[in-house]
């Protein structure tokens, strides 16, 4: 019994159980017990969760990526421009956006691995840069179905089906499509971390970079992979965000990086690197998702909501912290 508490995901589930228990108590006249509440929770947390999947890879490799929120915004703009303004077919637009995300991730990765810049400052620089690029590409405007013509009049384009598909509900209306995208991202990162050789390289690089290098681990390539994939996930999140908002907002994703990191950490993955996993991140995402949902359905006023969020995060983390 005692030994079970040593297992990371048991501890992570403990934190989730705490939040869930609060939800059962403060159920807002039973609203917490409707399936729709849980479905919406999962939908709301999906974009953060997708970012957190990529963040997990980077954190396991011993780094951190502050640029994910901005890359999300940039990707939302690129995807919307490609589909709405240029009428590109969905698969081309998706490929283009994922490519841009990968490029942004590889830029951070190159700075961190080859040029040995501290991850925090390298990705902070990229966070600022990508936001600027998003604003430059969009001209500071939201890219939506409403298109201003050169003569100042407005024209409307139809929303491509890919938007509706991603914003739809599937499985008999019980799950949002973006939630499936999130679960797919969890699966991909799980395969990378647990089933591929490069996953071992990520853990080794994060756990002890010198030892990894001496053991012949391609440390530089491992980090490039982590940041590159993180950029791709951020682009996926950007596409999902654009589909749900039906527009590409250059300000989208502002501040999301902190939530993504919080999800990773509350799951139990250590920011020191070399430990943790994406299963924990899934639990962390659901924990944060329920926390926000519970506060929202109970219409907790803003000030109290912030204080309760802080307090519950502390309680959840204390509950699941490693015994010294």
């Amino acid at each position: 019994m005692k030994a079970a508490f040593q297992i990371p995901w048991v501890r992570a589930l403990l934190a989730l159980a705490l939040v869930f228990a609060i939800g059962c108590l403060c159920n807002a006249h039973g609203a917490f017990f409707h399936w729709s509440t849980h479905r919406d929770m999962l939908r709301q947390v999906s974009v953060y969760g997708i970012l957190a999947c990529g963040m997990t890879l980077v954190v396991v490799s011993g780094g951190i990526d502050l640029a994910v929120g901005s890359v999300l915004g940039l990707s939302a703009v690129i995807f919307s421009t490609a589909t709405l303004h240029h009428g590109l077919p969905a698969f081309l637009a998706v490929a283009l956006t994922l490519g841009a995300g990968a490029a942004a991730g590889l830029a951070s990765g190159t700075l961190v691995s080859r040029l040995r810049v501290q991850p925090f400052i390298a990705t902070l620089a990229l966070m600022v840069f990508a936001r600027g690029l998003a604003k430059a590409l969009s001209g500071g405007q939201k890219i939506s179905r409403v298109i201003q013509q050169p003569d100042g009049s407005f024209s409307y384009v139809d929303l491509p089906t890919v938007f509706a598909r991603l914003d739809a509900r599937v499985l008999g209306g019980n799950v949002a499509a973006v939630s499936l995208v999130f679960l797919a991202c969890v699966l991909v990162s799980w395969v990378v971390l647990s089933r591929l050789r490069y996953g071992r390289y990520l853990y080794a690089t994060g756990g002890n970079e010198d030892a990894a290098r001496l053991s012949g681990v391609p440390v530089v390539r491992a980090k490039l992979l982590a940041y590159g994939l993180c950029g791709v996930f951020a682009a996926v999140a950007g596409i999902c965000q654009a589909a749900q908002e039906e527009q590409g907002d250059p300000e989208a994703g502002t501040g999301y990086e902190l939530t993504a990191i919080a999800i990773v950490v509350i799951g139990g993955t250590s920011l020191a690197g070399g430990r943790g996993g994406v299963g924990l991140t899934l639990i962390g995402a659901i924990t944060i998702g329920y926390l926000e949902k519970i506060l929202s359905i109970n219409a907790v006023p803003e000030a109290s909501r912030l204080m309760l969020t802080g307090a519950i995060i502390v309680a959840a983390v204390l509950l699941q912290r490693r015994k010294p």
């Binding site: 807002a28 006249h29 609203a31 409707h34 729709s36 509440t37 919406d40 939908r43 709301q44 974009v47 604003k135 969009s138 500071g140 405007q141 939201k142 939506s144 179905r145 409403v146 965000q241 749900q244 908002e245 039906e246 527009q247 907002d249 250059p250 300000e251 926000e292 929202s296 359905i297 219409a299 006023p301 803003e302």
Partner: protein
């Protein structure tokens, strides 16, 4: 009707701005006068999708009426329409949604206010001695977040109005609605411009920040400051203290929303659109409550 009370759900997109805090306060104040009303406030922390979910939550909780101050038009149109179709009257405040699936829209027009500010400024500058001598006025524009529609509208309306007037915009910067940013940008404007006649800021905190920068440089006497929003404890107070030459009210519509809500709940019909009147406050008229535009 829940017992002897009407429950009104109020979905606010963000409470990080004083103006929106004021909107909630106005709604609360107006509703307090009617014991049969109970308002449940939620705020979406500036997140469009969170606000969409929130509207869904209100629908599930079967509120009697919904007041929504949406963050974005397009993404919030479907949830608002869904609520409306489910029979819940919806009052949309300040920013629009697309289509017609709502009960009433209440809001002021940022473009119109920007235009009014531009016209007032052009008139006020024409009275300067230098301008009478045929000179051109030098103007600083401190913009709100230019990716937001209010910022874009307050800029566009203003520029329409000053077109043709002998006015040059010698410095412009995005101060993102924030007072410290405005002060910083104004310091730069002062550093590169010997002569500044007027500062037009997209909100009152921005104008106040610019004023403080000019005061620190000892140049506040040479410059006029104009802001927008005109909240009682902010813009109006600055005008009373003669820090600002003018503040243009951007009404929150909170009081009007509650009034409409009462009428809707009592089965009366209401107009689809309510355009809020706005006022200008200057040192001369602020004591008597400003002049409407």
């Amino acid at each position: 009707r829940h017992g002897d009370k009407w429950i009104i759900g109020m979905s606010q997109c963000n409470l990080g701005e004083p103006w929106r805090v004021q909107m909630n306060a106005d709604i609360l104040k107006a509703a307090r006068a009617h014991p049969e009303l109970e308002v449940v406030f939620k705020d979406a922390q500036n997140d469009t999708l969170a606000q969409a979910a929130q509207i869904g939550e209100f629908v599930n909780a079967e509120v009697d009426l919904l007041i929504v101050s949406p963050k974005e038009a397009a993404p919030l149109t479907p949830p608002v329409a869904e609520a409306f179709r489910r029979g819940i009257p919806v009052v949309v405040l300040d920013r629009r949604v697309l289509g017609g699936d709502y009960t009433q829209f209440i809001g002021a027009d940022n473009r119109r206010i920007g235009r009014a500010a531009g016209e007032w400024i052009a008139r006020r500058l024409a009275a300067l001695p230098r301008m009478k001598a045929g000179g051109r006025a030098r103007l600083v524009e401190l913009k709100g977040l230019m990716t937001s529609t209010p910022g874009q509208d307050r800029d566009a309306g203003f520029r329409e109005a000053i077109k043709g007037a002998p006015v040059d915009i010698v410095f412009e910067a995005d101060m993102k609605w924030l007072e410290p940013e405005a002060r910083k940008e104004m310091e730069s404007a002062l550093a590169v411009n010997e002569q500044i006649d007027l500062v037009y800021a997209h909100n009152d905190p921005g104008a106040h920040g610019a004023y403080l920068a000019a005061k620190a440089a000892g140049r506040e006497g040479d410059i006029l400051f104009v802001g927008i929003d005109g909240l009682p404890q902010e813009g109006q107070a600055y005008v009373r203290q003669r820090l600002l030459a003018a503040s243009f009210e951007y009404p929150t519509g909170g009081k009007e929303a509650v009034a409409s809500a009462l009428r809707i709940l009592n089965g009366e019909s209401v107009p689809k659109e309510v355009a809020l009147e706005s006022r200008v406050f200057t040192p001369d008229n602020v004591a008597r409550g400003g002049d409407s535009l």
